[in-house]
């Protein structure tokens, strides 16, 4: 890659400002997207990644405006296709740091297929799914994560759809890194994104994000300050899963099902010890089923983080192996690789 050859340039020290583009941010005032943008812009200077190697790819929707606000390379593409476009970029340029920003409609509805396949292939992408449980840009229809019975403009008698649980979906799609965070806790958000970025392969992060115009307060039941202690279940690797102001609640597994129980009743030794690195995703999946929606105690943090070769590396390895075995391709040789014969000059 001509302009990209040569020794790597030194990574300059940067601040949030260096990662902020000159474009005016046009989300609704009060939108949860602002805090996610701020967290990403504050995190990137800490990651030691050269700015020119970072690419944000998005589809369509409110969240999809994200790349315009980042002073990096970026593509604002078409609805649902960001994981596919990012896959081509990540596979052909393993040197890049590729992020995908999507939403519950973009990533789980029109683009659901691409998301699943990017996860199963373990393409080296950091995928942020902003989940506000509503279609924002089209002004308020129910989304694939809206609760059943949701009354919207397109469901005046209530939505009949069973919603997706994005974390369960990602775990079922063989994702190697699956996490959940939210827009109300910058520290947790940044820590989770840092972990996702460190992961080699597809890292999927569901971010609960408030749409204050079309679905305001969707997460209040678990995210308002006074309710967090009793409703957010922090997942900490190697620690028993427990929560509550006094850590009085815990999670136990009964018949393969996760259940919330008072620690005093079941005893500390009965609690599930969280292990991100379990090869078998069953326990992580059970944890993801604890809450049917953001109205009852919900786990946040890293559900799963396992090592598996990332897709681009496998592709590159196959090419290197072929070149080692067969030598570098020679075009003239290729043209002669079928049945050939000579026609002599006529006399």
């Amino acid at each position: 890659m001509s302009v990209l050859d040569g020794p790597p340039l030194e990574v300059p020290v940067t601040t949030r400002k260096d990662w902020t583009s000159d474009q005016e941010v046009r989300w609704c005032p009060g939108c949860g997207d602002y805090s996610i943008l701020a967290a990403v812009q504050m995190l990137l200077p800490e990651l030691g990644v050269p700015r020119e190697n970072v690419v944000f790819v998005s589809g369509i929707g409110c969240a999809a405006r994200f790349p315009y606000y980042m002073e990096t390379y970026g593509i604002h593409s078409i609805h649902g296709r960001a994981p596919a476009i990012a896959t081509g970029l990540a596979v052909s340029r393993p040197d890049l740091d590729v992020w995908v920003v999507t939403g519950d409609g973009d990533g789980l509805s029109i683009g659901g297929n691409h998301l699943l396949h990017a996860l199963r292939r373990n393409v080296n992408l950091t995928i942020l799914l902003f989940n506000n449980q509503i279609y924002g840009l089209t002004k308020g229809q129910f989304s694939p994560t809206s609760e059943a019975g949701k009354v919207t403009k397109s469901s005046p008698f209530g939505s009949l759809d069973q919603p997706f649980n994005p974390v369960s979906l990602a775990l079922g799609a063989e994702a190697t890194f699956v996490a959940r965070t939210h827009d109300m806790d910058r520290k947790h958000l940044m820590a989770t994104l840092r972990r996702a970025h460190e992961h080699r392969g597809a890292a999927f992060v569901e971010v609960y994000q408030n749409c204050n115009v079309f679905n305001d307060g969707a997460f209040d039941g678990i995210l308002s300050r006074d309710r967090r202690a009793d409703n957010l279940i922090p997942l900490v690797d190697g620690e028993p899963v427990r929560f509550g102001a006094e850590s009085e609640w815990g999670v136990v597994l009964t018949d393969g099902e996760a259940r919330i129980a008072p620690v005093a009743e079941v005893g500390e030794e009965a609690l599930v010890v969280h292990r991100e690195g379990r090869e078998d995703p069953s326990v992580a999946f059970a944890l993801s089923r604890l809450a049917a929606g953001p109205t009852t105690p919900t786990p946040i943090g890293v559900f799963r983080a396992v090592e598996r070769p990332d897709y681009a590396s496998l592709v590159s390895d196959q090419i290197a192996a072929a070149q080692n075995r067969q030598g570098r391709g020679d075009l003239a040789g290729l043209l002669r690789s079928g049945q050939t014969w000579e026609v002599a000059e006529r006399r």
Binding site: I75, I78, A84, G88, L334
Partner: protein, 643 residues
């Protein structure tokens, strides 16, 4: 028998012969046809082939639906088509006979596997009585050869199981044909040894079956004469046999080498384009990255993503897939990134007839996107030209930063022809300039990068690859402000951008060759074709000229933009007739663009034009032209209009 009792076989020299092989999908007819092609090529004949197989992988054995056929024309002069009707049909069962009779010349020779004409197979083919016995085949010369039992007897010594042994009967048939037309046996024997080196038992079985076929021809005195087709006078050089799909795949690799841009293919399997994915997947030693995507949309999306990163992004598909890719191609128009889309057309609409060719996607390629989204469109005119057109498509895509659609079709994809290999050193490099520094000044005096600051000549925008420090920028499907690329909803700016994108594509006319007419003194009629119909139209035109008719032929390969001289060319003739395998897609464009009263010869049967039917249709046009205007007032000669 000669008068003295010895067997004197006559050998007739013929200028060309058309051979058709037909059997069950599993009978190996495509393979036998392929080997006949290669031995004929090595012998020095000119040839053209037409595989004709069903969409079903293995329809029930013995049924009409399961018949797979292969046709080849061998000649002592350059030929452009696989031939209208066959001189010889090899039929491996009653279904093959019944379904293929309509492709034969009157008096053609039928070579049938008489073992296969049992009650069960006759019933499956819908025959009440055995056509070999009941006189149905009067007018044909029928050779009943018990190919199955002769094959079994020939390979008995190997101890091969009957099923395995029976599978070699295609080699028996090939041996018999090789004898009949004096094909060099050594070419086939060498191939068998090489191809089946790892399974010696199969190699022996196939060799014995092939030799038995040859020997049977020698000794059975089935025919009074064999035929020879002398080598064709081809220009000197190294030749290979090439199919359109292979040539296309190799052309894409060549384009990558010539441009220095790594090749990335995003594709989803679809008939008849899958062989492009297969071939490129083998070529990893060229650094080719192939990505079998989850669907057609992901295939083109990944190719476009790779293009953003600096690759030569390619996606390959057929009609239904082109529909699915439309939105992403529109995005590529808006992003102004290079992208090559190969559409191997098949009969539509919808699933249509997946293995049958048609030219039904021209308007979809030109206009099948919302908004004003012009895309250059190319159509190779022969299997070998798929190689050069792949390079041409990449050259236009990379130079003008635009998606380019190549329209191949199921006939080009699978048919083969001899190809004189180009000298790789003669292939023109494709220079690609990447952005390396700021190209504009911000109001505050800073040097900045504007992703839509165009080249004054090509109107192409700069290609700044991620990884290039200081050129960070965002692009997207939203309308962009001219030069800066910032989001813009300004109507005047939008109109300017629409015009700029259109002007960029229209300007490609200056970078492509003029239309070259195969003209003839006194021609008042011009027949125009595009893409794969080149051979059939040319053969019809040549035949008519031999009969004293005057007509000119233009075969277009550039369909958007059209060659710069096309309007002048069309207006030189009293009558323009367009022959195409659709309902008139090119003719509508020529009429709309140049206001010429062009007429149409249309065919939508899922098969290429036959030379005979084109000849007839053109004769009709010539006749009505003579009647309508009497003595020509204007006579066109090559390139000149004489008043």
């Amino acid at each position: 028998m000669g008068a003295d009792g010895t067997h004197r076989l006559q050998v007739h020299a013929v200028e060309q012969v058309v051979v058709r092989l037909a059997g069950d999908s599993g009978d190996g007819m495509q393979l036998a046809g392929d080997r006949l092609m290669v031995s004929s090529a090595r012998y020095g004949n000119a040839f053209a082939t037409l595989p004709d197989f069903p969409a079903e992988i293995r329809a029930p054995a013995g049924t009409l639906a399961g018949v797979s056929a292969f046709q080849i024309q061998l000649a002592d002069h350059p030929v452009r088509t696989p031939g209208d009707e066959a001189d010889v049909l090899v039929a491996m069962n009653p279904a093959a006979l019944r379904s293929q009779l309509r492709y034969l010349k009157p008096g053609a020779t039928l070579i049938v596997d008489s073992d296969a004409f049992d009650e069960r197979n006759l019933h499956k083919a819908g025959y009440a009585d055995n056509p070999l016995a009941d006189g149905e085949l009067v007018g044909f010369s029928v050779l009943k050869v018990p190919m199955t039992s002769l094959t079994l007897a020939a390979v008995k010594e190997t101890g091969a199981r009957p099923r395995e042994a029976e599978r070699a009967k295609n080699f028996f048939a090939l041996g018999l044909l090789s004898w009949l037309y004096g094909r060099p046996a050594a070419v086939t024997l060498e191939w068998i040894a090489e191809r089946f080196a790892k399974v010696p038992q199969v190699a022996v079985v196939n060799r014995l079956a092939f030799q038995a076929g040859l020997a049977f021809g020698e000794t059975a005195e089935l025919v009074e004469a064999t035929a020879t087709v002398a080598p064709a006078p081809l220009p000197p050089g190294t030749y290979t046999t090439i199919s359109g799909n292979t040539a296309m795949a190799w052309g894409l690799v060549a384009a990558s080498e010539l441009s220095g841009r790594p090749l990335f293919l995003g594709s989803y399997p679809i008939t008849p384009a899958s062989d492009l994915l297969h071939e490129l997947s083998r070529l990893k030693r060229f650094g080719v990255r192939t990505f079998q995507a989850e669907d057609e949309i992901a295939g083109v999306g990944a190719a476009l993503g790779a293009a953003f990163g600096g690759a030569l992004g390619v996606t390959t598909t057929s009609g239904p897939g082109l529909d699915l890719k439309a939105e992403t191609i529109g995005l590529a128009v808006s992003l102004e990134l290079p992208l090559v889309v190969v559409d191997v057309q098949r009969a539509g609409p919808s699933t249509g007839m997946p293995t049958k060719p048609e030219q039904g996607d021209l308007l979809a390629a030109l206009f099948g996107r919302h908004g004003e989204a012009p895309v250059p469109v190319l159509a190779p005119r022969g299997a070998a030209e798929c190689f050069t057109m792949a390079i041409e498509a990449a050259r236009l895509a990379l130079t003008f930063r635009t998606p380019v659609i190549i329209l191949s079709d199921g006939y080009l994809a699978n048919s083969s022809e001899p190809w004189r290999l180009p000298d790789v050193a003669d292939l023109a490099p494709i220079p690609v300039e990447l952005a390396s520094e700021a190209n504009a000044t911000a109001p505050d005096g800073r040097a900045v990068f504007h992703p839509y600051q165009r080249d004054a000549g090509t109107l192409a925008r700069p290609w700044a690859l991620p990884g290039t420090r200081g050129l960070e920028h965002r692009i997207g499907g939203l309308e962009k402000a001219d030069e800066t690329g910032d989001i813009s909803y300004d109507g005047a700016n939008h109109e300017r951008m629409v015009h700029l994108r259109a002007a960029k594509v229209a300007g490609i006319a200056a970078a492509i060759p003029h239309a070259v007419v195969d003209d003839q003194e006194g021609a008042r009629l011009l027949v125009v074709g595009w893409g794969s119909t080149a051979g059939a139209i040319a053969a019809a035109v040549e035949g008519l000229r031999r009969r004293g008719e005057h007509l000119a032929h233009l075969q277009l390969a550039h369909l958007n933009p059209f060659p710069a001289n096309l309007g002048d060319v069309l207006r030189r003739y009293d009558r323009v007739v367009v022959a195409e395998l659709n309902m008139g897609q090119l003719v509508s464009q020529l009429r709309a663009t140049y206001l010429v009263d062009a007429r149409l010869i249309s065919k939508v049967q899922g098969v290429p034009f036959r030379v005979g039917e084109l000849t007839e249709a053109l004769l009709g046009e010539l006749g009505s032209l003579a009647q309508s205007t009497g003595v020509p007032e204007r006579v066109s000669t090559a390139g000149e209009v004489v008043a």
